[in-house]
């Protein structure tokens, strides 16, 4: 017989009394409708309501950039955005970055080639941030300092950034963004 058993006749509620709202957004080219608590932030929505756990949460105060996603093409901190604010928006997360056949994108491959990641926790946010620069049409400054500036919205605690700088340059040159 087991020493530990759950308390019997435990009443576990299935919801709080938070106000809710039905929202719809297009995430990675798929329409999603959910009824969510109005105070749920977008990162929690993407991760736990939609199940796209590639977006990570590092600080929940908008400094580390781990939760960066593209909202209508712009990089945003999904921890500082309420899910209801994204109602009707078009979202892209890290799960949309690879080619549909599963092959890494040029940018992702450059990270792998250059050892631009270690624990991989900041990486999805870092990549989405770089993606926004790549897609902006701006001419990128591919000097070390230019790339440092480009990725300065994301904290990484493992790599010391040097190999991320290399990866960004490799991908940008390969894609003709220089």
């Amino acid at each position: 017989m087991n020493k530990y058993r759950p308390n019997i006749a435990l009443v576990i509620p299935d919801k709080s009394d938070d106000p809710t709202k039905s929202i719809t957004m297009r995430i990675n080219e798929q329409d999603i409708t959910r009824t969510v608590s109005t105070r749920m932030h977008l990162a929690d929505f993407i991760r736990h309501e939609v199940g796209l756990t590639g977006t990570h949460v590092g600080c929940e105060h908008g400094v580390c950039g781990a939760c960066t996603v593209l909202l209508n093409g712009c990089s945003v901190r999904s921890c500082l955005t309420f899910a209801v604010q994204a109602d009707g928006a078009e979202l892209r997360t890290i799960e949309s970055e690879a080619n549909p056949n599963g092959e890494l994108s040029v940018l992702q491959q450059a990270f792998a080639d250059c050892h631009g990641l270690q624990c991989g926790y900041c990486t999805p946010g870092m990549i989405m941030n770089i993606r926004s620069h790549f897609d902006s049409g701006e001419k990128l400054d591919l000097s070390d300092d230019g790339i440092r500036e480009m990725i300065s919205g994301s904290l990484c605690r493992c790599t010391g950034y040097a190999n991320i700088i290399k990866a960004v340059r490799q991908a940008a040159l390969q894609l003709g963004k220089g």
Binding site: L10, S16, D17, E97
Partner: protein
């Protein structure tokens, strides 16, 4: 034979998964119906708890359970002292939830479990606790004195008092012709892994199986702790460290309160429960490291030869000392650095302060020791009018003196301090050339004539790595796919174990690196070993896996030789096959693995040949002969005789902006030696990451408390973790002196990068400003205000 993978710059096995957002971090693991924990934490550094009222919190919609220390049964006890040592008197550890007293801002007092984290945090606000705040002393130099406000009910705040002696320091002190005395300080900091700490638990009350997903560096330790606290058979507790978003030492400590209480809640509530620490909690609730104040004395001859060292230091251990004296012991045994110094007296007092407890953070005492000895050696050079390079050249242990034992000193593994191998003098010469030491003086003169502050810094470090007691390796060749599954007990937090261990196995078994699958940090898969700390994974698990791979290779060759009717000397392994040399006869490893397992059922083509009915099967006697193990599988272990010592030297040219007092780096070079490198790219990644944390500690990061013990910068806004814009380029040059004490000849590298940065930067800043100020730089981090003050102070 295939190209040797050891030493190659192989790209990482697990990167595609992480890059696609398909990692499996604790909070990514689907646990349907999971409940969420949040903690009520002490707002006072030291206080009596007068009353705890949780009634309003309990009544909130969505709240499932509220736990105070009265609600956790026998778990209401002081948690284990993980590393005992005789020099501690009445060592104190924390209870899972505070009872009667709180000892630091952030200490857990009440745990709330709710249907989601939002509601749980609402309830945290509704708990009403009446405290009686007590007087505190945050300054360790004051806290160590008699009469200081006490953290615990002891005569004073001294948690440990320990002296170690090597050689005959008393005699050497008397023989010295010159004494240099300095005081240095390293401030409190925190590891700040990008993923904060995490724990999730599921209890199956039918089977009695407790499964815990824990973002830890020590899943086997956590399992031992949980099995002990809950009085369960270890087989009934499975601890899995899934993908972990960085550790840097913070996650070696266990059990934090949540690691005990989340399983408890899962067991009593019959639902999965998770606690995902937020960033503020990581700052106020997860262990930290670093504050030490060293009083260092170097006793020398006029020639510059250092004949003795005396170092007394204070070590801040925070409110509790659960990890014993490990950090201080590493500092005290690394104190002579790379130098011969035959006579040493080193002593420390570990001091309780009402702050987050101190346990290792990357470097674990080594950056402190390096800062003390290197700053002292710089001062000695200055005192004797010698060049900083020259004084080091005179005192470095030379190649023919290895192994160099520091008789009388005991390292953090309980074993002797023996610096096993190295080419210290060559490393110094290399850095002299690479940084341009000999040309620098002329450049500096020109810069000074232009009113610029240009300086050169130098720092040498050693790192005892690869500590025991042991690690293991288990290897199995998969009979269906031919893939090679490898297990070890410790676990990774991004270091690249999946790749470097695969390279080691690939060399023995002739399979592609990508076909070697590492499953580590899961006590349900492999349950022998220790943990990831002290730059030991490559040395301990790497060599264990290497030894295991040799055994499995032998089995494969014997079985394949039998199948191909060849002599074993004629069989080799390549491209996932065994083949007879000089012929086209070959057999896939999957087939060999299948054939090595007598079967009844023919579930695939290869299996047909392995069933007991197949013509080639043995039809006389048992299918397995006595002592034979089915399949291609084995286990072995590696236990080092003692630590193996890596080392390196840093040099930097810095320029200080006279207006902003910002430190700009013109060049930063490191010469680094961690023995044979399994994968130079991964080694460089470790060095670069450590270097960034070193820059952080040298110029930016420290935990700031007000006089009442409140942390005042507990967020990423105020605690200045460097972005890419703050980290200079680093030039890395390798030396490879094989470690003599392990089959692969490797030394650890995890902590190397950070150790010498503080002293190198301080040395450079001091050199840049020496013509305008007498002020020395012996306290890190060095802020622009400190530099500005030095410039304003000027020369006396």
């Amino acid at each position: 034979m295939s190209t040797r993978q050891f030493g190659e710059r192989v790209t990482r096995n697990n990167d595609p998964q992480l890059l696609k957002g398909e990692g499996s971090f604790t909070d990514d693991i689907p646990l349907p119906g999971a409940l969420h924990a949040a903690f009520v934490r002490s707002p006072y550094a030291r206080a009596k708890i007068l009353e705890v009222d949780v009634s309003e919190a309990r009544d909130l919609d969505g709240i499932v359970a509220v736990y105070t220390c009265d609600d956790i049964g026998h778990l209401d006890q002081e948690l284990p002292l993980l590393i005992p040592h005789d020099c501690m008197t009445d060592p104190r550890t924390a209870r899972p939830l505070a009872r009667d007293d709180v000892y630091y801002v952030g200490q857990p007092v009440v745990m709330i479990v709710a249907i989601d984290r939002y509601v749980a945090e609402d309830a945290v606000q509704l708990v009403d606790i009446d405290y009686d705040p007590l007087e505190v002393e945050m300054d360790i130099e004051e806290a160590v004195k008699d009469g200081a406000p006490l953290v615990h009910h002891h005569p004073n705040n001294i948690a440990a008092d320990f002296t170690q002696i090597s050689g005959d320091p008393e005699t050497a002190f008397a023989e010295a012709e010159h004494v240099t005395r300095i005081t240095v300080q390293v401030d409190r900091s925190t590891a700040s892994p990008m993923e904060a700490r995490t724990v999730a638990a599921h209890f199956d009350h039918i089977s009695g199986q407790l499964t815990v997903w824990d973002g830890t560096q020590a899943p086997l330790g956590v399992r031992g702790g949980l099995a002990s606290l809950f009085e369960l058979d270890e087989d009934k507790v499975r601890v899995i460290a899934p993908d972990v978003g960085g550790g840097f030492g913070q996650k070696i400590m266990f059990p934090h309160s949540d690691e005990v209480l989340v399983p408890l809640a899962a067991m009593t509530l019959g639902r999965p429960v998770k606690f995902i620490e937020d960033r503020r909690e990581n700052f106020i609730g997860s262990n930290q490291e670093r504050t030490q104040i060293h009083h260092m004395e170097l006793y020398a001859k006029k020639t510059g030869e250092i004949i003795a060292l005396r170092d007394n230091f204070l070590h801040d251990t925070g409110a509790f000392i659960p990890y014993g004296i490990a950090v201080a012991q590493v500092a005290s045994t690394s104190i002579a650095g790379p130098y011969r110094i035959p006579n040493i007296e080193v002593s420390f007092k570990a001091v309780y302060t009402p702050a987050v407890p101190v346990t290792p953070y990357r470097g674990c005492g080594r950056p402190h020791a390096c800062f003390a000895i290197e700053r002292a050696v710089d001062q000695l050079a200055d005192d004797l009018g010698m060049d900083r390079m020259e004084i080091r050249r005179i005192n470095l242990i030379s190649d023919d003196e290895f192994p160099y034992e520091r008789d009388g000193l005991i390292f953090a593994d309980g074993l002797k301090v023996i610096q096993d191998s190295g080419q210290y003098l060559k490393a110094l010469e290399m850095v002299r050339t690479e940084i341009g030491w000999d040309d620098f003086e002329a450049k500096q003169k020109i810069a000074q004539s232009e009113g610029r502050y240009l300086g050169i810094g130098l720092g040498f470090y050693v790192e005892g790595t690869g500590l025991g007691p042991y690690e293991g390796g288990h290897i199995k060749i998969h009979p269906i796919t031919g893939k090679v599954y490898v297990n070890t007990g410790l676990t990774g937090q991004g270091q690249g174990h999946e790749t470097v261990f695969a390279q080691i196995v690939s060399d023995q078994l002739g399979v592609a690196v990508k076909d070697v699958i590492l499953v580590e940090g899961d006590t349900g898969t492999f349950e022998w070993g220790v943990a990831t700390f002290a730059s030991r994974a490559a040395v301990c698990s790497g060599n264990a896996i290497h030894k295991t791979a040799i055994k499995v290779r032998k089995k494969v060759i014997e079985a394949a030789a039998n199948m191909m009717e060849a002599d074993i000397s004629q069989v080799d392994l390549e491209d996932g096959h065994a083949f007879v040399k000089g012929t086209n006869r070959k057999v896939a490893l999957s087939t060999v693995a299948t054939a090595s397992n007598p079967l009844r059922y023919a579930f695939n083509e290869a299996a047909k040949a392995a069933t007991q009915f197949a013509p080639a099967s043995r039809h006389d006697g048992p299918a397995l002969f006595e002592g034979q193990h089915p399949g291609l599988e084995d286990t072995d272990f590696f236990s080092p005789e003692c630590a193996t010592w890596a080392y390196g030297v840093h040099a930097a040219i810095v320029e200080i902006d006279p207006i902003t007092c910002q430190v700009n780096f013109h060049k930063y070079v490191t010469i680094h030696d961690c023995g044979n490198m399994i994968n130079p790219t991964i080694v460089e990644g470790q060095v670069l990451g450590g270097f960034a944390q070193g820059i952080a500690g040298a110029l930016y990061e420290h935990i700031d408390f007000d006089e009442d013990g409140n942390p005042t910068n507990a967020s990423f806004v105020d605690f200045l973790i460097p972005y890419a814009t703050e980290i200079p380029s680093l030039e890395i040059h390798h030396l490879q002196t094989p470690a003599p004490g392990n089959p692969l000849g490797i030394k650890g590298v995890g902590e190397a990068g950070c150790i010498a940065v503080g002293t190198t930067v301080a040395s450079g800043i001091e050199d840049a400003l020496k013509h305008v100020t007498d002020r020395t730089f012996r306290h890190v981090p060095i802020t622009p205000s400190m530099i500005q003050e030095a410039i304003v102070l000027g020369s006396t």
